[in-house]
Amino acid sequence: MTGPVVQRTSPRVVLLHTVTFKQARQWVPIALPVGAAIGFDSGLTTVAALVLAVTLLSATSAALAWWRFGYTDGPTSVVVTRGLLARSVRTVPRDRIRGVEVEAPLLHRLLGVVRVRIDAAAGATTGEGEEVLVDGVTSAEGERLRAGLLSRRSGATADAAGAAPAAEPPAEEELARFDPRWLLYAPLAGSYLAVPVAAVGALFRLLDELPRDLRPDVDGVQLSGWTAGLLAAAAVLVLLALGAVAGAAVVNWGFRLVRRGGALVADRGLVTRRHTELEVDRIRGVTVSAGLGLRWAGAARVSALVTGLGDAQRRGQLLPLGPRDRADALAAQLVEDPGPLRRHPAAARRRQVVRAMTPGAVVTTAAAVGAVLAGWWPVLAVGIVLLLLGVPVGLGRYAALGHAAGPRSFAVRRGWVVQEKAVLQRRAVVSWQVRQSPFQRRAGVATVVACVGAGSGAYSAVDLAAEDVAPFTRAASSDWAGTLAG
């Protein structure tokens, strides 16, 4: 056989997968009934035998998987061969590789191996990337794979086989570095607050499964009066905040974003180190988003919109958490700022307020009828409060609306609970969609959706003045959009 030889992963991965029961997990559904048939309760020897059997099984399957796994890193494609009985051969042409990620979870790090994730967008229409996973190569080999795959893919420049990756260190430019003080923003971000909540949930599930006599006895504690309640609430809040900070620290520790040649490289993580590369050429735009809490603290996060990127939510992150001005500056470095946003017409404000008040109005009307017939006065009060809250919510939603078209890019912004500003390159637009409901028609506004082959796929300017639609689409993309103006 000519060409590159089939390579194997490090044998250390066998140990790794034995310990984590990676392959053995699929046997659990079979093993459980078998175990139940034998009976779990026949003493310590059975338990020991079971543990031994499971470990042996795990070791065997891990060894088999390692033995049958091979990858070839050829000049035109990467071939990954695997499978015990049913062999699967997956070939990924190099020019389809969109990104390479090197991950080192804790156990991997202890054993000095890494996991390489190769992202290859299959069909652009599905919008889903396909992944090839090479688990358990040495860190040096992982680095070699990453550098080799990415450098040879773009442009096929004079990169002879002998040129070691270290021999040509392209100029590095640091775009962002995580400041540990930014962790203080974490309790204000919903996604990080969810971390401690999930942890508490898992803890409770664990408690449920513990035998009764092992459970801590908390029934004896007497909670009485307001002070105790307040104390408990304060304690929960403090714990939530600490948990969010800790969660954010684990994920984002040492975050660093650099531009190296034609790629953006992000490194992050305390326990699991992640190394993500994005090709600058495939970036179509960026989003700067911030929830209510982050906006109040003047913070935001930045993500890149990259074509054909699987798991874009996580991998596209360019700044996980940081001050607003840094976020805006970073966004402007990648996609030209199209200038200040233009406000939407007064009709849009009216519509947003009316829409925000509608749920309150429905509850109030129903409760008014109910109050007369059956004395639902508390419900009526709730309805009126909802109705009144609709005013600031609607005004907030209106204030978030904005659009702008610059010479090379355009921007749209929307959202109140989470405000998202998308700045897109003109070439990003693959289609325009204009929507108008009967209410919008009466108000003389319409919603313009820029369809993009990256990110969520659609970015809207809500309630644009009807007469601005055609000029905006024309200014934000190329001549073809002139069809809308007629």
Binding site: V434, G444, A458, T473, T483
Partner: protein, 170 residues
């Protein structure tokens, strides 16, 4: 011009096939029959003894008649006036909907695939749908209810032109 004056963008030039009205009426009739089939058992199971509930059995049939009137009498005619399409030198352009209207414009250079589908009811009327797909999951143009031969011809033409002007910047 059939479009209302407050239309935010230009209307595409060409109407869809006239037989589309018949097709939409058929769909309305089928929908009405389906709801009726669901309503009849519900009526049989409803208790009718209580006085405040005695009006309840009428709610369903009244709604059904209203639905039938709109879906059979009104919607097909409005849809025929709204639905339009056009293929220009640079783009595919179409508008659909009856209450909420959606105009979609896809430049030929960004076309990824072109599908022609013929549903069961469409085959009765000799109609077909062209779907022009792009790299974005939301940026699809669908031109519904064109004569089948026109649809085939337009699709072949679009595929041919897309191959010549495709640019990689998706």
């Amino acid at each position: 011009m059939t479009a209302p004056s407050s239309s935010p963008v230009r209307e595409p030039a060409w109407p869809v096939s006239r037989s589309a009205i018949g097709l939409w009426v058929t769909q309305g009739v089928l929908g009405t029959l389906l709801w009726a089939a669901l309503l009849v058992p519900a009526l049989l199971l409803l208790p009718t003894d209580d006085l405040p509930l005695s009006l309840l059995p009428w709610v369903g049939p009244v709604l059904l008649v209203l639905y039938a009137g709109v879906a059979i009498g009104l919607e097909p005619r409005i849809r025929y006036r709204v639905h339009r399409w056009e293929v220009t030198g640079e783009a595919v352009y179409a508008v659909s909907g009856w209450l909420t209207r959606t105009w979609t414009l896809v430049p030929i250079s960004r076309i990824q695939t072109v599908d022609v589908t013929r549903g069961a009811v469409q085959q009765l009327y000799g109609l077909a749908t062209i779907a022009v797909l792009t790299a974005s999951s939301s940026g699809t143009v669908r031109v519904r209810h064109l004569p089948a031969d026109v649809a085939e011809r337009v699709a072949a033409d679009l595929v041919h032109r897309a191959e010549q002007v495709r640019d990689e910047a998706t």
